[in-house]
Amino acid sequence: MITGLFEALFNGISIGAVLLIAALGLAIVFGLMGVINLAHGELMMLGAYTTFVVQNGFKILGGPLFEFYILFALVFAFLVTAAVGFILERGVIRYLYGRPLETLLATWGVSLILQQFVRSVNWVLVIGIALFCLLFFGAMWILSRRPDFQRIRNWVVAVMLPLSLGIAGATGAFLGQSFQLAVTQPWFGAQNLDVTAPSWLRGGLPIGSFQLPYARLFIIGLTIVCVVGIYVFLQLTPWGLRIRAVTQNRSMSACLGIPTEKVDALTFALGSGLAGVAGCAISLLGSVGPNTGQNYIVDTFMVVVVGGVGKLVGTIVAAMAIGTANYLIGSGTLALLLTPVKPLADIFTFFATTSMAKVLVFALIIAFLQVRPGGIFPQKGRTVDA
């Protein structure tokens, strides 16, 4: 009985930890900034792909170092996705603040672009894009030092855009023809990829008849580190203070000299970076492929909404609650516990398959949001009233 209880608790927490680490980035981007980022899942996917690349890099190095690639992968995944998030914020999202519907559509578009990008990325594509950026933005940069730049700007764009596109396209075509498969072969392709956990993360720690999977323990640990890290960052650092200030009252913060644009970019990059870390973590459990992110996006939004938008502690509680509920119902543990109460047990036996458990959990969530539309920890304060 004790082991049974412990097992249920551990499994519930481990499912909750996966939900939480996937939702942490979103809790910042959606919760604090109010940006509905449908590309969050794809940022996780990029994190998982980064893990794959780092893994392959360490495979070449070989030796005992390979066993620790996952730690480097976490760092790289954070950096890569934070960079992508930064570009995304600067390039797309900052023009859409305060327009949730447009943000939703734009980020959904971005998610499709990212998916197709990892499917078809190859040397030709990368060289083409790099060349285009170099020519176009390089020309803009050089010419922007001319005093009459504002006057000729439109002409520069009109000339440089087709010109750089043409050169990039022609170079791509040339490379494709002269090197054939070597450059046109996709790096990853549409297939799922094989990310192998280092041997110390495979298998599990046996406790009686029960075995604690190391990968799950690792994810739980990682989640704790991330949560503590975010807490420390938001509460104890100057930039954390600025982020909180901008979240609470953007205009007032601006008045007081906080560079809100920089704060926005930083916050978004931080949230994206956390998505990358989550992507690295889930590659230990599930598949790595172009669709990886889509499997998580609904769950992450659900966690943030149930927890209460804008509250990190709400996200934590919600993730744990949903994870445990999912496990208890789906595995039939609840039905087993309720055996004495016959009708209840029958109901829970009916819901004791994974897909039916999801149905029940969603039904419960809908009912809960009817009672408390603001989530477990609704936000209070002036921003809500305005």
Partner: protein, 513 residues
């Protein structure tokens, strides 16, 4: 009345964000900014209605600066006028069209076309080519699997064309993207038949997509070659099924497990039509042969949280047992990775999968799958001369690291069988081809197969164990090709039914002996 307020802030245009606030608050901020900062650049617009004018009493404004700002904003709005926009827009469009036209010869190597549905336009004119349709998902969830089937079909077409084509004409494939969306499949099938007037169509992967296009093919009396193992219980006059029927994959696998691995089965599947039908068949078969179904569970497609399932397996099979796995897609990866983590090893909990082939093994990782089993008609490791040739040709065309699998082989066979049928009928007329196709044999990579009168193939059955290199070690192989039985004999509703299209009186579903 419109008033522009100019104040200063190093942070410039941030003041614009005060837009959504009540007027009183806005003015307060503007005033605060005016006082606190160093009078440089800050622009904010306030539209004032006469009744709000008294708010402005406390505000002092530099009127000349107001005028200046208004001027500046007007200029900004004019900078990209409509006329200029049209001019630049059309110039850009024209240039891109020109570039596109120039790049035509290398269309499939530039990055712009790798992502779109390309129609292969290498034809030399309408008279000496035969058009065939290829209808698979090139985007969306199913693209992962279906892309490689398209590769195999194109390889077969290329080989046939290199050897002189069909009836002296070259085959011209027309690619359409079903986009993993079933209504799109039906729409594109209509397009291929009505607009492109193709001679036949090779396509579909999921049962759902096949069911979606079936009415189209039956209405137009057209012809589809379907290359994937499926759940059976269907026998259309307008479809040739070149994948396995349940009695050529699932049933022999269950028999083999009963003999070699154990009697207690746990069934895991994705939550859609194929796994549910397949598990109905397995349960009926186990009941008939003395096995026992101790539990079953279904995961929504794409779900990767399998902890509850693992708990259940351990609860009902504490001492080990057989797991029969009909999961599809990403859930497979999660199941095998987490099974290993939870200590469910193949020596105690061997699993038999019917949707994991070489490509999937590569994606999941052989170290998670080593020792587990899969049942197919074809493995890359099958030892026949035809297979050596097929594997070699495939790797040469698509790269050394690619692997071949069962649906790819079935698709490859389909193209050749169609070619033989056309040659026998001496026409591409669909009714004649359908008739000529029955009884065709082909020396396929898996062995010599025959197209039976019930529109399915007599195929070899094999069971493979995943090895360290990610390929299968064949542990069981049927001595001869197994005849297909589309209507399942274990399921009460279809027991005793059969299918024979060589005799129009019998048709798709008739009561046999």
């Amino acid at each position: 009345m419109r008033v522009a307020v100019l104040t200063t802030n190093l942070l410039a245009y941030i003041g614009a964000t005060t837009g959504g606030l009540p007027l009183r608050t806005r003015l307060y901020y503007i005033e605060a900014l005016r006082k606190s900062c160093k009078y440089q650049v800050f622009v904010s617009y306030v539209t004032i209605s006469p009744r709000d004018l008294h708010y402005y009493n406390g505000l002092t404004m530099n009127v000349s600066l107001v005028g200046l700002i208004q001027l500046g904003v007007q200029n900004m709005a004019r900078r990209l006028g409509r006329r200029k926009f049209i001019l630049y827009g059309s110039a850009t469009l024209g240039t891109s069209l020109l570039l596109k036209a120039c790049a035509k010869p290398s269309a499939n190597t530039t990055e712009t076309t790798t992502t779109t549905t390309t129609t292969n336009t290498s034809s030399t004119g309408g008279g000496d080519t035969i058009k065939v349709g290829i209808l698979h998902s090139l985007s969306g969830t199913m693209a992962i699997s279906e892309k490689s089937v398209v590769d195999a079909e194109q390889l077969a077409i290329e080989e046939i064309n290199a050897a002189g084509g069909v009836l002296g004409k070259k085959i011209q494939p027309i690619l359409e993207d079903g986009a993993s969306d079933w209504p799109t499949f039906a729409e594109k099938a209509k397009k291929l038949i009505d607009q492109d007037k193709v001679a036949t169509i090779f396509g579909c992967w999921t049962s759902a997509s096949r069911k979606a296009v079936l009415p189209v093919f039956e209405q137009k009396k057209h012809l589809l070659w379907y290359p994937v193992q499926y759940e059976g219980q269907e026998c259309s006059q307008d479809i040739f099924y070149t994948g396995a029927a349940p009695n050529q994959q699932i049933e022999p696998a269950v028999d083999w497990l009963l003999q070699n691995k154990g009697k207690d089965f746990f069934l895991v599947g994705s939550d859609y039509v194929f796994p549910r039908t397949a598990n109905t068949i397995i349960k009926a078969q186990l009941a008939a042969k003395g096995g026992k179904t101790v539990g079953e569970d279904y995961l929504p497609l794409g779900n990767t949280e399998v902890t509850p399932i693992i708990t259940k397996i351990k609860a009902v099979l504490p001492n080990g047992g057989v797991i029969f796995n009909t999961l599809n897609g990403d859930s497979n990866v999660a199941l095998f990775k987490q099974m290993q983590g939870a200590g469910l090893t193949p020596d105690k909990y061997p699993s038999m999968s019917v949707s994991i082939a070489e490509e999937e093994v590569k994606a999941i990782g052989p170290e998670f799958l080593k020792g587990h089993y899969a049942s197919w008609n074809y493995f890359q490791t099958v030892d026949t001369p035809a297979n050596k040739k097929f594997v070699q040709a495939f790797k040469k065309k698509y790269g050394e690291n690619r692997v071949t699998n069962d649906p790819m082989e079935a698709a490859y066979i389909a193209v050749y069988l169609w070619k033989q049928a056309v040659e026998k009928a001496k026409t591409t007329d669909i009714a004649a081809v359908k008739k000529a196709a029955l009884g065709q044999t082909f020396d396929a990579p898996e062995g010599k197969i025959t197209l039976e009168n019930n529109h399915h193939l007599a195929k070899f059955v094999r069971i493979g164990e995943v090895g360290e290199d990610g390929l299968f070690k064949i542990v069981y192989s049927s001595k001869e090709a197994v005849k297909p039985i589309p209507w399942n004999q274990y399921v009460a509703e279809t027991k005793g039914y059969a299918c024979d299209w060589s005799n129009p009186n019998k048709g798709g579903k008739y009561k046999g002996t």
